[in-house]
Symmetry: C2
């Protein structure tokens, strides 16, 4: 297992972690500068943050700082109540792939979607099997284009508590089943983004990480599970503040051949998003060295 204690060469910052600082939205170009000041070598930005600053401007700024991407957030949300909606989702994913290419991302992260409308409390249908079928179809179609341009797709299994509204792929096993079906040759073009927040509880985690192997492990996200957890979406903990066995899981991931970044992604409306961005980033670096 790699020694992280001496530097933060393998730390990446998912920009959602500091998108709000002291409760206020901070533009991506400012976040990139904050990361550059601290020698952070990689980030994973969100599409809306990139769009707000401008795609080409972000690409240039990253290049100037020598900062790479550990992933691009995010494509997905495939299910829809009708054909027009399904088509719109595919078009949008094609644009996301193009953006990821412009930013030279190693992969586009897919939060695949679930019951359409459920995010607004108004599910258009309840058939989870249908949603999963639409997700499979959406990934297959997007994969065709992704192969064409050379942009790997990383399915992110989301925690089962988000099965209704955000992603109906909820275990690593389920994600890998889809990978094996759509990319049996393990081409490197389809894999998973493994976020410990979503999968830490899974009794089959170690076994499925070994099954994934290096060709499928395209991204690795860290934070922590707090007790109590006060909100289903945005009460994630800073690494070390919760109950997840971070080093044990990284050991499994590295044993499977993963040698990329540990990307910190913390949604924390009640705590870290209320703090100063410098404090948050400095804490990420310190925890990365000590507990990840």
């Amino acid at each position: 297992m790699r020694d992280f204690s001496q530097d933060h060469d393998w730390l990446s910052i998912n920009t959602a972690t500091v998108r709000k600082q002291r409760g206020a939205e901070v533009p991506l170009d400012r976040i990139i500068d904050q990361c550059a000041e601290r020698g952070v070598r990689a980030i994973s930005p969100w599409r809306d943050q990139v769009a707000a600053v401008g795609l080409d401007k972000v690409a240039k700024q990253l290049k100037a700082h020598g900062i790479g991407l550990s992933g691009y957030c995010r494509g997905g949300f495939f299910p829809a109540p009708d054909a027009a909606g399904l088509k719109a989702a595919l078009d949008d994913n094609r644009r996301a792939i193009d953006e990821a290419k412009t930013l030279d991302a190693p992969c586009l992260v897919l939060v695949v979607g679930a019951l359409p409308g459920a995010l607004d409390g108004k599910a258009a249908y309840k058939d989870l099997g249908r949603a999963r079928s639409e997700v499979r179809g959406g990934i297959a179609a997007s994969l065709d284009y992704a192969r064409e341009v050379g942009m790997p797709l990383a399915i992110e299994p989301l925690h089962p508590m988000q099965a209704a509204d955000r992603a109906c792929i909820n275990t690593l096993e389920h994600a890998l089943d889809i990978c094996d079906e759509l990319d049996p040759e393990r081409s490197g073009m389809l894999g998973v983004a493994l976020d410990i927040y979503h999968v830490w509880w899974d009794p089959k985690l170690q076994q499925q990480i070994a099954r994934a192997g290096n060709q499928r492990l395209l991204a690795y996200h860290v934070c922590d599970w707090l007790t109590p957890t006060r909100d289903l979406l945005s009460d994630r903990g800073m690494m070390g503040d919760g109950v997840v066995e971070l080093k044990k899981i990284r050991g499994w991931v590295e044993a499977a051949g993963f040698a990329g970044f540990s990307e910190v992604e913390i949604f924390s409306a009640l705590d870290w998003w209320q703090r100063d961005g410098a404090e948050v980033l400095d804490t990420c670096i310190e925890r990365h060295k000590r507990v990840v």
Copy 2:
């Protein structure tokens, strides 16, 4: 599949559903009377509610009304930081088995526990594998006594969002693996309590229900998953108000041979626990007939 539309013969009320009425705690004897008034044939009471009224008094009252149990809530919480704690948990489970026997319950439901102390935000350790090993040991030891007195144990897989603090068995597959290990002969003395709130999201649900079969399906709990869900513990929905495909899942359960009660268990601090108990029970009956 049984027709529930004409009566509520197969409705059971988990007494947690009406333990608070208009925001105030209601004693179990009053809840039993409310159920009897409505011709409810079965309930599933909680140990603390029984203790507050008195075990023998509750047993007599149930007999007088001709009300049976669909389960007894609950044993479990096996993991502990030390040997004394592990021993205390086993003793407590033995008492729970005796109480279940006195009340003539068909099974004792096990919420198996997880990281000891996590429920108070102070996990004594983070090793989830150790907790799972202690759970396995606790079930094995309790099963010996359960066999002796003839009280089936029903492992309840809890939603993965409760893996840290309430139960570290989080999928039906995991629960059945333990059943097969400890009771390979499928004696009927070890099985599962299947609560749709905890398992509805699972892509392997149908397959694992078929695997469970009638010998393992000891109890069936219903409510609904709301979007949004505002709290990890007590924001469950009334059947029909959420996104769970209730009839589809009951179809799977009945195809596996289950022919028992549909037990309504709704923790709802923000909604149903604030309402009048009569309204809650009448709504349970109406929804049982129409959507379960």
